[in-house]
Symmetry: C2
Subunit: 414 residues, 2 copies
């Protein structure tokens, strides 16, 4: 009987803990095959430093509460393992730690980088004579993993952005006669416009202009579009991706702004866009930057996102029990209207370091909105609500006890 | 039998429409005494320009849906009536419009300025021989009206800020080991720290430093506090009011930032604070500016806020039916734990132009947090959830039909 190791990787989401819950609850159903599930304290560096959290010391109720708790319950990290050639010692250390703690299953919950790490661990472990079944559990608000229909975490961010854009638009619509006519919301997505696209899910009674990182910023065309919207609707809402670029490739936010001390610009893309409009069209504006609020907003998660995040954690353990290795459970869409899906399986070699970009046919011809095909894809992902329980007016989120297992190996410098 | 006029004033909130719903639904219960409820299109300028919305053309279902719809359903405006001496013509125009449409009840839903307008209309109408019962319905996220325990709109913003601060803090806590250690959230409240104070409602396992507009920014003391939190907790969350000032009285946001074209600074207080920390302590940061998202977030309204907003609209009509004039229904707190309240009554002369500031005994000695007295006051205001219905993943908010009544008077320039 082997133990299992689970780690969270990269930027956390509103539902990555639901995957953790799926892994741990499902592993507990195989007491004959899986001993203890250890979780990496702060992700993979928890394994490298031999800081293993004993999840068996967490109560069933607390593990269950992970399903409605945002963030990384065991801690995550931004730590990209170097290539095997550049730093074989790190991979060897991982396997030594796994060996020392009799770990035979490695569940890694993250995006493209962690899929790559997962694959390498599996390969190296065989050559080192200590085989480990490595299963990747998909997670990323960037929604850029191949094979899977979507990535857990994305649907909830999309719902947050769609709802927030709608609410702020209602607000501006009621003030526009004498006051604010422009509202700019900056959203995440440095490389792809998946998140910004969610602003296009409102019905067309609400004028929303989207600035995608995929489309170079055309100031003149943009201002004409905003002007037309203000003339027609009395106001205009803009959803701008943090990754939107000037024609020369600089990010919108890099406008060369300096403070009194000569420090580089402080702001984001939203104030830049708002000021352009003010200067050209004279309208009063407001702007918001959602930043972490969007990916942490478990209070507004999409129900399908929570369900899929859990199901993928569950499936990862089931795949391990079936003897699978170097794979990732994936969401396979089987129908729209109603949205139906099942769990499929992808090979890590087809997933590691492959980025799924937003298809250009999802962006409208003028570059400022989404197409019907995009709406068909996105719509099911924001559907359903899954509210956390509340206590004293605040969500009753759980904090893990994080009991660290006694170390068996010498210290390792990360 | 007289008609009634209802108008929304100033910045809108998540629950001002619940007050509108309370006014209209209650007025419909007095068919012998109240004819039609007219609503001002875009607030008081709707009355000045004789743009009156006939609310009897809105279905019962739509009026009921106002209770779960944020923003100003009939439109609001930022339009401060000048003093009686400076612009008597405007007040006279109001009364002429009321007279032309047989309006005997004036329900004005707003903050301190609108309470003042309400009072003047009542006074002038008597001297002009066309008595109007003027009732003010309190509303403002600034929470600065006297007499009432709190102002509808504030409780929901407070809940949004408390929940968002909590969620972002959970996020940062899981990333802090290798990445972001500082999260800064900028919140509304140019003159008073009521909204910022809501960031203090988390339990003390979460390190939150609050910057209030009431306390001049002490950079050295602030950095020491942040440093201590990072050392103790591994991270630190900062909630900064947009009204926070440097010792010389400039707003934090006015740091003299200029872009390439010499335009004044674009950003808010949050990036300024984040950069100060980065420069002094070297920590990686993220920042968010909630702006309109906070006051429009009906998806996360506090239940007591929604109930009180409705109850105050209802009470306004009941007071009118009792023959009252120049008054405002108010929330009177009758107990904490459990929170109990009843509707009281305030005289507009005691309310107009009186600002209720945040008591200094609500701010902790170090100036960066709230006291137990403040917590006792705030806690009940964020309690309970009151979710809107959803359709296709988005809140099912209502849009009024806004049938404009035929004009009877010559045009008036506003």
């Amino acid at each position: 009987m082997k133990n299992a190791f689970y780690a969270q990787s990269g930027g956390v989401t509103a539902v990555i803990n639901a995957s953790a819950c799926g892994v741990i609850e499902t592993a507990r159903k195989f007491p004959d095959k899986i001993g203890t599930v250890y979780a990496g304290q702060n992700g993979i560096i928890g394994a490298l430093m031999e800081n293993l959290i004993d999840t068996s010391k967490e109560s069933s109720a607390d593990i269950s509460a992970l399903k409605h708790t945002p963030s990384g319950g065991f801690g995550s990290c931004r730590y990209k393992m170097k290539s095997l050639e550049d730093n074989k010692a790190e991979y060897q250390r991982l396997i030594e730690v796994f060996k020392a703690h009799n770990i035979g299953y490695f569940f890694y919950n993250g995006g493209g980088d962690s899929a790559d790490t997962c694959l390498k661990v599996s390969q190296l472990s065989e050559s080192m004579g200590y085989p480990i079944q490595a299963i990747h559990v998909p997670k990323t608000v960037d929604n850029d993993l191949p094979v899977t229909d979507n990535c857990p975490g994305f649907g909830s961010v999309a719902k947050y952005i769609a709802v927030s854009t709608m609410e702020a638009s209602f607000d501006v619509a009621s003030m526009a006669a004498t006051s604010t006519k422009i509202f700019v919301l900056e959203v995440m997505g440095r490389h792809a416009g998946w998140i910004a696209a969610a602003g296009g899910l409102l019905d067309d009674s609400i004028p929303v202009v989207i600035l995608f990182p995929e489309i170079k910023f055309d100031e003149k065309k943009f201002l004409a579009k905003v002007d037309a919207n203000v003339k027609k609707f009395g106001y205009c809402t803009i959803v701008v991706s943090e990754g939107t670029q000037w024609p020369d490739g600089r990010f919108l936010a890099e406008q060369g702004t300096r403070d009194d001390f000569g420090h580089a610009q402080l702001g984001g893309a939203a104030p830049v866009v708002a000021n352009l409009i003010k200067d050209a069209l004279g309208h009063k504006y407001h702007w918001a930057v959602a930043d972490y609020l969007q990916r942490a907003a478990r209070h507004l998660s999409s129900k399908s996102d929570v369900q899929q995040a859990y199901a993928l954690g569950e499936a990862a353990v089931n795949l391990a029990m079936e003897g699978k290795n170097s794979v990732m459970p994936a969401i396979i869409r089987t129908g729209n209207n109603p949205y139906t899906w099942e769990i499929g399986i992808g090979e890590l070699k087809d997933i590691a370091n492959v980025e799924k970009m937003m298809p250009m046919e999802y962006i409208s011809d003028d570059g400022f909105g989404i197409t019907e095909a995009c709406r068909e894809y996105l719509q099911p992902l924001i559907e359903g609500e899954d509210y956390p329980p509340y206590k004293n007016g605040l969500p009753d989120y759980v904090v893990m006890k994080k009991h660290i297992v006694a170390k068996k190996l010498p210290t390792f410098e990360v």
